[in-house]
Structures are given as C-alpha cells and as structure tokens.
C-alpha cells in the first residue's frame, strides 16, 4: 500500500513538475549541458581508473571475443544444412568468423 502511495506521489510530482517545464533559461541549459558532459567525463575516468590497465582489459576483451567467435564457429559447423543455400550461407559465415578471429589475433 505504501509503495502504491509512493508511486502515486512520485507520479503526481512528475505531472506537477512537467506543467512548469516549457521554457528554461540559458543559464539552466548551460548548467544542464555542462553537468551532463562533466558527469560522463568523470564516470569514464572512474571507469578507466577501475580498470588500472586499460590495454590489458582491452586485450582480455579481445581474447574473450575470440573465444566467443570460436564457440560460434564450432556451433555453426555443427549445424545441419538442409539445402545448398543454407550450406553456402553457413560456410560464408564461418569464413567471416575465421577472418574476424584472425584479425583480432593479429591485434593481440
């Protein structure tokens, strides 16, 4: 019941605030834009700090991508092609995956 009441209150506040909002001053808009950009920048810095070695993290990401692509390739090889077109598609897709794996491996 209290959750329902809180939701209703929140909804009413949104309605009330919405009614007021049709013109924003230049100062408010600048503050909003700068705050938004600063938040994205600050959080990105925190994210980079959380990953002390970004290069290592990217390397790990690429290794995981290769592993996932290898899984995908094995799975595709295991699929039964019921016709020529599907067979050709599967083979093209497997080739594309191999190229992707090879390109990622070169980057490592």
């Amino acid at each position: 019941m209290s959750l329902q009441k809180s939701l209703l209150t929140a909804f009413s506040s949104l309605k009330a605030y919405g009614r007021l909002m049709h013109e924003l001053s230049s100062r408010t808009l600048w503050s909003f834009t700068i705050a938004l950009a600063a938040s994205v920048f600050a959080l990105s810095l925190v994210a980079i700090k959380y990953l002390p070695d970004l290069a290592e993290s990217q390397k790990r990401g690429k290794q995981e991508a290769i592993s996932s692509l290898e899984n995908e390739s094995h799975a595709l090889e295991g699929l039964e092609a019921r016709d020529v077109l599907t067979e050709r598609f599967l083979s093209a897709e497997i080739n594309a995956i191999r190229e992707e794996i090879s390109s990622l491996s070169k980057e490592l």
Partner: protein, 413 residues
C-alpha cells in the same frame, strides 16, 4: 478510404522500419547471453519512443517545425549548436554502421568482397534516395522490412518457455552475480534502451511529418502510427531476443556478426527462413541508412534555417542535398576504412546516448509550451511520462559510455 489506407501504410512502415543494425546486435546478443531477462528493456524503450515520437509528430503537425528548428528556439544558439554537433556526428557514425551492415549482408548473398558490396550499397543508396519521393522511401523500405516477420514466426516454432519469457517483462537487476557480469548486464540494459530510442528516429519522424505536410487533422494518425506501429515493431525486437535465447544461446552462439542473427530464421525454417530473414534485415537496415543520412541533413538545415526537404529540387535546397550525399559518401569510407561495422554500430548506439538528453528535452519543451501548441500542448499524462523518460535518458547518457569502457564494448563477462 484513402486516409485509412494512408494510416495503415504508416503503421506498416513504422513497424517494418523499427529495427536497425544497432538493435539487431544488442537484442540478439542480449538474448544469447541473458536469455529472456532483458525483454523489459525493449518494452520500456518502446514506451519512451512512443511518448516522444508522438510529441515530436504533434509539434511538427501543429507548429510546422521539426526538432532542430525548435532546438534553436528552445535551447538558444550556443547550447543548440552543441546539441547539433553531437547529434550530427553520432548520426554520421550510425549511418556508417548501417552502410557497413548492408555491405555485410550483401557479402553473404553475393559472396563478393566486402569492399565491393559497400560500394554497391552506397551507389544504390545515393541513387534511390535521390530519385525516390520521400513518402515512397519511407513506405517502401518500412513495408519491405516486414520480411522480418519471419523472426516473429520463428518464436512460435521454437521451444519457448512462455512463463519465463513473460517473467522477462518484469524489470530486474541480477543480485548476487559477480560484478563483471552485473556490469555487462547493465551495459546491455542501456545499449538496448538507447538503440530503441535513437535520436535520429525523432529527427526523421518529425521532419517526415513536415515533408508529408501534416496538420492538425493528422494528430490522430500521429497517435496511432506511433502507438501501434512502434509497438508492433518492438514485437520484432522482442522476437529477436527470444529466438537468440532459445536457438542461439544454448548452442554457444553469441552473435558477433550480423549474419548469425539470420540463423534465428534459418534454424527453424531452413532455406526460405534464411532468405526472408536476410531480406528483412537488408531492407530494414537500408531504410535506416537512408533515414540517418537524411536526418543529418535535416538537422543542420533546420538549425540554420536553410531550405530543406526531399520534396524540394536540388537547386532549391543545395546545402540539404550536399549534406546527405556527403554524409552517405563519408559513411561508405568509414565503413571501408574505419572500425568493423558491428563495432561501429555499438559505438554508434552507445554514443547516441549522449545526444538523447538535449534532443528529448527540446521535444518536451516544445510539446509542453502552451503559447506554441495551444490546446494541443502536453496533457498531464504526457508530461508525467515525458519527465520520467527525460530522467531515464539522462541516466542512460551518463552511464552508457563508462559501462562501455568497463565491459570493453560488452566483451568482458
């Protein structure tokens, strides 16, 4: 009868044109990795795009002004210019991802080198966008995108646990999972949310309303097209999540390439499923490529008050034509020499989040201005949902890029 036909066509093209390359990637990977648990995000994003699409269409119909004409009035020149630059750059990246996506699908069809397929794609796009009238472009590719209904049909053939799928409609955040897995989940939450609410969709929809000379009499059409068309379109996106969960995930396939998504139709239906699935994806992505290149020209011309419109001849709107042809050509170069198309699509979606707040704020301010809109200004319900989604897009804008860094573009788990 004629207006009923127009309405039906509008709904059909909104349905078929709902999915683009970014959504295909995020929804398919989300289904393969998190089964049904992210369906709620597609629904949430769809409600958001319905609310704001309706507002943008209503503002265009009442004031004859598209999003970036109002941006200059509502945000002022400086903040408006920041919004314009962000939106333009991101729309160009998304356009490049769409062109690359077409190249990849043509490569599968024709077995020709990727570069040749991209060149064919861009020549086709330049020709078709130049010669086709606006309404034909929108309706042709939107309608042909309905080939993607094969993905919806696949859901009914696949062995879906409907109870679990219905449970996926309830917003959840996994508790007790390792931190990297939680971050990956959140990355997909914001990725799907942004991909459904891409800013170019608002630019194109509101500019399209003006191209098609909408007026007050079209307000009901606007409401129905956004509510029904976008809802039906989101069913396709949900179908891709479900199919990936049932058909791809259990086989260890987490679709890293666009072609893998077509397997969702090939596994249950064989050759014809594959053909229809690939055609549907091809047309939907082609439509999105045209929408993005036109949108980039729309927003620049609208902001600077230059003549614009597909219905105008090139000599009457030279800058407009120069921008969209330039953007398409540059997008082809990016698709050829830039990052991998799938990677570019992910960058496009995540960085689009940065353009969402100013785009949506502009639309909200205009739709809520009684001086401008008179009795057609937002009601209480539109305001409540408008503010709610404004808060959500701000959260998405702030969180998406850091999550992309933390998960190394969704690769770490």
């Amino acid at each position: 009868m004629s207006s009923f036909f127009e309405l039906t066509l509008g709904i059909i093209s909104a349905t078929g044109g709902f999915v683009d390359v970014g959504e295909l990637i995020f929804t398919a990977q989300a289904g393969a990795q998190f089964v049904y648990s992210l369906i709620w995000v597609v629904v949430l994003g769809t409600i958001g795009i319905i609310v704001y699409g309706e507002m943008a269409g209503r503002v265009a119909a009442v004031t004859k002004e598209a999003v970036f004409t109002t941006a200059r009035n509502k945000l002022g020149n400086e903040v408006g210019l920041i919004g314009l630059l962000t939106s333009f750059l991101i729309t160009v990246i998304v356009c490049a991802a769409e062109v690359g996506g077409i190249g990849l699908i043509l490569e599968l069809f024709l077995a020709w080198p990727y570069w040749a397929c991209v060149v064919i794609a861009v020549l086709f796009l330049l020709t078709i966008t130049w010669i086709m009238p606006f309404s034909w472009i929108e309706k042709t590719f939107g309608t042909l995108g309905l080939f993607m209904l094969i993905f919806l049909a696949a859901v009914f053939v696949a062995d879906v646990d409907w109870g679990a799928a219905a449970y996926g409609l309830i917003p959840t955040i996994p508790i007790g999972v390792p931190l990297p897995k939680l971050l990956l989940y959140l990355y997909f939450v914001f990725g799907i949310f942004i991909s459904v609410m891409m800013p170019y969709e608002l630019f194109f929809y509101s500019s399209g309303a003006i191209e098609e000379k909408w007026g007050i009499k079209d307000l009901m059409t606007n409401r129905l097209v956004t509510a029904i068309g976008f809802s039906l379109g989101s069913l396709l996106a949900i179908a891709i999540v479900i199919n990936a969960a049932v058909l791809l995930g259990p086989q260890g396939i987490s679709p890293q390439l666009l072609g893998s998504t077509a397997l969702e139709a090939a596994i249950p239906f064989g050759k014809w499923g594959l053909i229809l699935g690939l055609f549907g994806m091809l047309f939907a992505i082609t439509g999105a490529a045209i929408e993005t290149c036109l949108s980039s020209a729309y927003i620049v011309c609208q902001f600077f008050g230059l003549p614009w419109g597909k219905e105008k001849k090139a000599k009457d709107a030279p800058i407009f034509y120069l921008i969209w042809t330039g953007v398409l050509s540059f997008a082809a170069l990016l698709a050829l020499f830039g990052p991998e198309p799938m990677q570019m699509a992910e960058y496009g979606v995540i960085f689009s989040g940065l353009a969402l707040p100013l785009t949506y704020l502009t639309t909200f301010l205009a739709a809520n201005d009684r001086k401008l809109m008179g009795k057609h200004a937002n009601g209480r319900l539109s305001n409540a949902f408008g503010i709610l989604f404004l808060i959500l897009v701000i959260i998405a804008a702030v969180a998406a890029v850091p999550l992309m860094i933390l998960t190394s573009l969704g690769q770490i788990s």
